[in-house]
């Protein structure tokens, strides 16, 4: 066997690595995903039974309604927009949509009374996060305990040296080709790529999806995706998300919403109805042109 062939060392892996590390690793990842999926299904409560405090919903929905008004103002006649704008400004200033806050919170001192429905939702969220995080943490510690310090696999395509830190966690050597991957890195990469596999096995929308975990772990990504779906052209007040694990006793969400209402009122004030490009402006001429073109084409 030639261990040195002139330019670089030839590395040959023991087939035992493939049999006892790579294949079991893949099998474990698959099985853990499947178990996660079925456990989530078992834990999930039937729709509509979750205890929802409608006063929370009402608050957020009122805010969304105002944001929607600003976003789609150009589709309504200006008078309608004006009427709604003044209604919302008055209603928000008077706190019409706020959940009635007990005096303790308003005073800003001392802990706020625990919010029962909020806690239920927080528990539910934490339960789900546990189901996702625990197996991942377990597997990672298992891997680093038993399978650290050797190469697992060589990638079939060439890579630049920049990938070494990503692919060779635990075995950093200056000379090693970046295409050699260590077991921990292999786990990470496979973890990121398992979604299509689960999609094939479990169908779309399965609970082994880790894109939601990614969002939970990375708040930046979450807010980026949230703003990508909505229009990014209008300013939005920051609405504290419900369902995030909150410590019991945190009345912070309520205060956050009061601030959101205040900022939304300001945005409404800034909305100049005369400047809104109403679609009804000059629409008769547009339609005349459109229909003329259509009629002539036949």
């Amino acid at each position: 066997m030639a261990f040195y062939d002139g330019s670089k060392a030839v590395i040959v892996l023991d087939p035992a690595i493939r049999n006892w590390v790579l294949l079991p690793l893949m099998a474990i990842m698959l099985l853990v995903g499947l178990v996660r999926h079925y456990v989530t299904l078992l834990l999930a409560s039937p729709p509509g039974t979750a205890k929802v405090d409608f006063r929370d919903t009402r608050q957020t929905q009122a805010l969304m309604r105002s944001v929607n008004l600003r976003r789609h103002a150009r589709h309504l006649p200006p008078d309608a927009v004006r009427a709604r704008r003044s209604y919302f400004m008055d209603a928000f200033k008077a706190g019409k949509y706020l959940k009635a806050t007990p005096k303790a919170v308003a005073n800003d001192d001392g802990p706020a009374p625990p919010d029962m429905a909020g806690m239920e939702m927080a528990m539910d969220g934490m339960k789900k996060n546990m189901a996702m995080m625990v197996p991942q943490a377990l597997i990672m510690s298992f891997l680093s305990a038993f399978f650290s310090g050797f190469l697992l696999i060589q990638l079939p395509f060439p890579l630049t040296v920049r990938f070494k830190s990503m692919l060779q966690s635990g075995i950093l050597t200056p000379d090693l080709d970046a295409t050699w991957v260590s077991s921990l890195s292999m786990y990470f990469i496979s973890f990121l790529g398992m979604n299509p596999v689960f999609g094939l096995i479990l169908g779309q929308g399965n609970a082994a999806d880790n894109s939601r975990d990614m969002a939970a772990m990375n708040p930046l990504a979450a807010s980026a995706s949230a703003s990508a779906t909505g229009a990014t052209d209008i300013p939005m007040p920051e609405i504290p998300q419900q369902g995030m694990p909150m410590l019991p006793g945190m009345g912070g969400a309520d205060k956050g919403l009061e601030k959101a209402f205040t900022s939304e009122t300001e945005y409404l004030q800034l909305l100049d109805v005369d400047q809104v490009p109403w679609i009804g402006e000059g629409i008769e001429d547009r339609i005349t042109a459109l229909l003329t073109a259509r009629v002539q084409r036949r």
Binding site: A50, V52, Q61, P77, G280, E284, I287, T288, L291
Partner: protein, 289 residues
């Protein structure tokens, strides 16, 4: 109905689309569901959703025994399910047993307090009982908490309009418009109400918007013709308003578009115009009032 029956896969896809659309024709649903359920085994788990869809459409058409058959199948599979019980309550509604239905909905709401479809069914019962004001009050309460439901706003507008309360109806349609700004049907509904309120200039703009979104939209085109003609007749008041000729031009080109649509359909149908179509053509060409 179509001359050629759709293929199995097309039917399944169309049923799927109908499940998420508001604009549903129960005859079509029943036709498609019958086709699909004959080979229900091929659907896998989707067959339950199709059965539910079919049951609801059959109830819409008053075919209660057939709907009950579908519901029995669902009941055997999902015994004691709230969703199946909701269908049973709808059967009571169809039979006119409103108190029974209302009691069942209240009971189901205790198990599922956050289920908005149950709340909406209760409002539907009030509507069937002709308790319009109660229905309006209940729907307003629902919309106060959950205002992002366009279907509910449109239903409220319908209730208000039926009670001749046109201004609140217009207000409700505006809310629906803010939620579905590119829906031609909502624009046309808004235009209808504006016309009834006497705001023909605004109605014309709304009909125009409906046509802009869907250029072949016949209801929108008719609205454009009618409003443009009338606005042209009531000569514009201010000098900076568009001249009457521009409205007449708009009316003319919309008339032409409609007549062309009739011509095309006559070619497809391959037979003479019915009396209704003849009357429509006469109205459009102005040889009638």
């Amino acid at each position: 109905m179509t001359a050629v029956a759709p293929s199995f896969d097309d039917a399944v896809q169309e049923l799927r689309n109908q499940r998420s659309s508001m604009d549903v024709n129960p005859y079509r649903t029943v036709e498609l569901a019958r086709l699909v359920l004959k080979r229900g085994g091929r659907l896998g788990d989707e067959v339950w959703a199709v059965l539910e869809q079919s049951a609801m459409a059959l109830l819409d058409l008053g075919m209660i025994e057939e709907a009950q058959k579908d519901i029995d199948v669902l009941d055997r599979k999902f015994a004691g399910s709230t969703r199946v019980q909701k269908l049973t309550a709808m059967v009571h509604e169809a039979k006119g047993e409103f108190d029974h239905a209302m009691a069942l909905y209240n009971q189901l709401l205790e198990q599922r307090p956050a289920d908005t479809t149950l709340m909406k069914r209760k409002i539907a019962v009030l509507k069937s009982q002709r308790r319009t004001q109660d229905a309006i009050a209940a729907l307003n309460l629902l919309l106060d908490t959950l205002p992002s439901d366009a279907e509910a706003w449109l239903e409220l507008a319908d209730l208000y309009a039926g009670a001749h309360m046109l201004q609140p109806a217009a207000h409700a349609v505006e809310e629906a418009l803010l939620l579905l700004p590119t829906n031609h049907f909502v624009h046309a509904t808004y235009a209808d109400l504006l016309y009834a309120l006497g705001r023909r200039d605004l109605a014309l703009k709304a009909y125009c918007r409906a046509v802009e979104l869907v250029p072949g939209y016949v209801a929108g085109l008719y609205g454009v013709v009618k409003c443009a003609r009338e606005v042209a007749k009531d000569a514009p008041a201010t000098p900076d308003a568009p001249p009457r000729e521009s409205y007449e031009k708009l009316a003319k080109v919309a008339e032409k578009a409609l007549l062309q649509a009739y011509d095309q359909r006559a070619v497809v149908a391959g037979r003479e115009d019915s009396a209704a179509v003849r009357a429509a053509r006469a109205w459009l060409t102005g040889s009638e009032m």
